[in-house]
């Protein structure tokens, strides 16, 4: 079987399903492996190729509307681009051979092939609509299930490369912007509390990634012993409480420290509007403040959604894609600064009432 050699994800920029000011979006991931096939880390290149071919074949037959791509045909820049879109993980991006992705037309469902497990299905949805994300991932899984034989046992459920994913193989993640809790100094205690309730807190690119711009991915720790609906209900209940805490923290910081808030927003706006070189880490932190300002009405003429799109556009591979050329680190910082200056020209600061 051959798959189209030049098929790449349709829209390689700004694919995010819009979220709100605190819960930025959610994802349900299902880990699956094929019966009688060595897991990807242990497999040889040809063994991974066999798995890729099997899964691609099943997907082509069941879901012709999906874009199927072998990452072997991608350049390094293209791999980085889909990683920045959060369609694939760092691990898949770095897989030397046999990696593949599938993406639905509306970008609401994707799947990674030969990542840590043979198949990792991801359903996306807005804000905290975990049920929709689950329905999307579940439907995809059920369709493939008719053509593939999954590794499974009655006792331990879906068998995964790492026992931490056993059972349902399901990881529910919600992405949060927690700048209010950071500003009130409650963030560390909140994260510890989440971990005590058996939720994992990671950076925006998932496992092993650092937080950037006060953005965090919160997901369930346990995958075995609770069914999918129970995991969703439990995770959602705790995430709703987290939203309440973050909203209270934002209100508190504005009422108790208006000068500090105004100062932070003024500094962010000044730097973003005037800097000549802007590294991505610094830009992420500054845009985090602008996002907060836009969400509480202190930054005018700029919406949260616009800030989110900018956050995506200023990543290294996205900048290069936009410029259609390879850029040096300094060139990227320069172009990022130019882009931010232009995009934030219209944004203004409304004084905090003191």
């Amino acid at each position: 079987m051959t798959w189209p050699s030049n098929t790449k994800p349709r829209r390689l920029s700004v694919r995010r399903i819009p979220g709100d000011d605190i819960a930025m979006g959610c994802r349900v991931r299902l880990a699956r492996n094929l019966s009688r096939h060595v897991f990807p880390d242990r497999a040889t290149g040809p063994q991974r190729a066999v798995v890729l071919k099997k899964i691609m074949g099943a997907a082509q037959a069941e879901m012709p509307e999906f874009t199927l791509s072998s990452l072997d045909t991608f350049s390094e820049e293209e791999r980085l681009l889909v990683f920045e879109e959060r369609l694939i993980s760092k691990e898949l991006m770095e897989r030397e051979s046999g990696a593949g992705i599938m993406v639905s037309k509306d970008n609401a469902v994707s799947a990674m092939i030969n990542e840590e497990d043979h198949l990792r299905i991801q359903g996306f949805a807005a804000c905290m609509d975990i049920e929709t994300a689950w329905r999307r991932a579940d439907a995809f899984d059920t369709q493939l299930d008719g053509r593939l034989e999954y590794a499974w046992s009655p006792r331990w459920g879906y068998l995964t490369a790492c026992p931490s994913n056993l059972g349902t193989g399901m990881r529910v993640s919600v992405m949060f912007h927690l700048i209010g809790l950071r500003m009130t100094g409650d963030l560390d205690a909140t994260i510890r509390g989440l971990e005590r309730m058996r939720l994992l807190v990671r950076g925006i690119y998932g496992e092993g990634s650092e937080s950037s711009g006060n953005m965090f991915q919160v997901s369930n720790m346990d995958t075995l012993g609770m069914d999918e609906n129970a995991i969703i209900t439990r995770t959602k209940r705790i995430c709703e409480e987290l939203v309440r805490q973050e909203r209270n923290a934002r209100a508190r910081v504005i009422s108790e420290s208006p000068l500090a808030v105004e100062d932070a927003l003024t500094r962010a706006l000044c730097l973003l509007k005037n800097a000549l070189l802007m590294p991505s880490g610094e830009a992420g932190e500054l845009l985090s403040a602008i996002r907060f300002g836009a969400s509480v009405g202190l930054i005018t003429d700029m919406t949260v959604e616009e800030v989110d799109r900018l956050m995506m556009r200023i990543q290294p591979a996205h900048l290069q894609n936009e410029m259609a050329m390879t850029l040096s680190s300094e060139q990227r910082d320069e172009f990022r600064a130019v882009l931010l200056t232009a995009q934030l020209a219209k944004a203004n600061l409304r004084k905090v009432r003191r």
């Binding site: 880390d41 499974w152 459920g157 490369a161 026992p163 059972g167």
Partner: protein
């Protein structure tokens, strides 16, 4: 190179250790570096002993060596004794190093160890929830 203490795992770091009253550099695996076996002293000393060594000097060292050997057997099973998945060939120590299994049959090969690991990890040992329409063909033993 192999660890100079357990002789089984790959050496990953150099440590300085007093051996027979003299400081030496040893190349050891991360586990031996962490656990610092008393075996270092006795084994190295014994190696350095000459034929002129008296029985009175050797006896305590022989006892020490036997204890060390017992500790080593408990902590570092030799490759021949180590559990291996017959399907994918991964060894227990390889799995422990990465926390990733090689294939679905590893759940059978390392079942005893995984029982505890899974219970600690998830606080449950029985799956509930979605089941595949088919599947489990190679996993019936679980």
């Amino acid at each position: 190179m192999k660890c100079e203490i357990c002789q089984s795992a790959d050496a990953e770091k150099a440590i300085r250790k007093e051996v027979g009253g003299k400081e030496q550099e040893l190349y050891v695996c991360s586990r031996c570096a962490r656990e610092g076996y008393p075996a270092i002293t006795t084994k190295k000393v014994l190696k350095k002993k000459t034929a002129a060594t008296t029985g009175a000097e050797v006896l305590p060292e022989l006892v020490g060596m036997m204890i060390d050997a017992a500790i080593e057997i408990m902590n570092h099973p030799s490759p021949s004794e180590e559990s291996v998945c017959r399907h994918c060939g991964i060894t227990r120590s390889e799995y422990r190093k990465t926390s990733r299994l090689g294939c679905a049959m590893c759940y059978v090969a390392f079942a005893k160890e995984l029982d505890g690991v899974v219970a600690d990890m998830h606080r449950h040992t029985q799956h509930v929830g979605k089941q595949p329409r088919r599947g489990g063909g190679d996993d019936v033993a679980l």
